[in-house]
Amino acid sequence: MEDSILTRMGDGERLWLSASDIRKDIAEGTEDAAERGKVPVLTDAEQGRLYDIMAEPARIVSVLPGEEVIVSDDGCSMSFYSGQDGGGVGVPMSRMQAVLTYERACGADSTSIGHSDYSYKPVKPIINFETNDYYNISMTTTAPLFYGAQPNMGLYFQPDGPCPNPSELLPLGEIKAALAAQEKAAGMLRDDLVYVGKRLAAIGCEGLNFDTSGSAGDADFMAALEAVAAIKAAAPGMPILMGASGEFVIGMHGEVAFNEKRLAGMYPHEQVKVVEDAGADIFGLAVGTSTNRTVAWNLARAVTFLKQTTAVADIPVHVNVGMGVCGIPMMEQPPIDSVTRVSKALVQLGKADGL
């Protein structure tokens, strides 16, 4: 069959594929997700609709009028002034100018600020600067303003932090020491998250974002869940968005639990339930993009995980759709043909409440 559909690989490489190749990749992608997550595959009709989205000849595609969802800001405002490593375009403007530009020139549904490092640990010593900036900006914005960063438990391990590094201990067979180091780091991370969260709540924070929770494994995810619960107990009126870092919680520890539910190996439809239990208001679903498979394969996978997650969720599910996540190619400048196809498919087929 003629290669007639212009599409991309997960690393952004552009290529022509046949209709049968695209259909085959969609089928394989949904089967992969279904097998791993033990969730249903997409129906034939849904796979057909996903094929139609991938095969649309237009450069840019979109949802239909009335189908629009909320786009929650996760550092997008920062990309106006940040550099290449943050996907930023380096315009010399302040945080407030960036936020207001995003709100008023781009029509964003929500905006955000965060520390340039985008981790909570370095926020703690400069919390007074951050709360001052947040308060000043929140007086000028109309759309919801999040404060966002990543829990990022990796920063608590040597040489960046005080705890022994489990990545060094595990290859030496020091299993108990590696588990103890993660438990110690998780406690420190939780306390820092709670400290920063309470300080932000005290100055009227409209929304807190725990982005990429679990990036250092299940103990990282547990610390974020415990922090959400503690902050919600202290400041129930401050909304919290808790996002994940991948389609399953990596079992770096393997035994930690939240509310007696073991976290290692949880897939998104299970992650959302513990996030709900913790008291978060929005769940951020993440599915990694494989760079050596097509966007069609990756997107079919992401939609399969998402569909099951939105079906069981009692809170809104916003999908992480940055570089290398949920079908977005893993590259510095994700192409808008792929980005808009991912947007449309996740909303129409995955029933996302937001992105």
Binding site: V69, V71, D109, M139, L355
Partner: protein, 102 residues
């Protein structure tokens, strides 16, 4: 990239009613359809018109909840959010703090 997402599937923020629907997801954990229905009810418009600039632009000005184009003297920022909290019958933390200081 985020601009592409906004064009493909976003409600439009303060251009339309995107911020209002976002407030309902955040403050009441409403899923998208429930949040849209709630906001449309408060605005007394059809759900389809939540993203209709023709309807939302004058309505936002009339209600004093902030407009995307800058009207001199028109409510923006915390002033607009005070009205939004009232309109949607929700608590917005920054508004609660501001009101406590008046």
């Amino acid at each position: 990239m985020h601009i592409a997402h906004i064009m493909a599937s976003c409600m439009g923020g303060i251009r339309t009613a995107g911020d209002l629907v976002a407030w309902m997801q955040m403050s009441r954990k409403m899923k998208i359809d429930e949040a849209k229905t709630y906001v449309a009810g408060k605005l007394n418009i059809d759900v389809m018109d939540l993203t209709n600039e023709e309807i939302m632009r004058p309505l936002r000005e009339e209600l004093g909840i902030g407009t995307v184009t800058s009207v001199a003297g028109g409510p923006k920022g915390i002033r607009a959010k005070m009205k939004i909290a009232e309109l949607l019958d929700i608590n917005i933390p920054s508004v609660d703090l501001f009101k406590s200081q008046i």
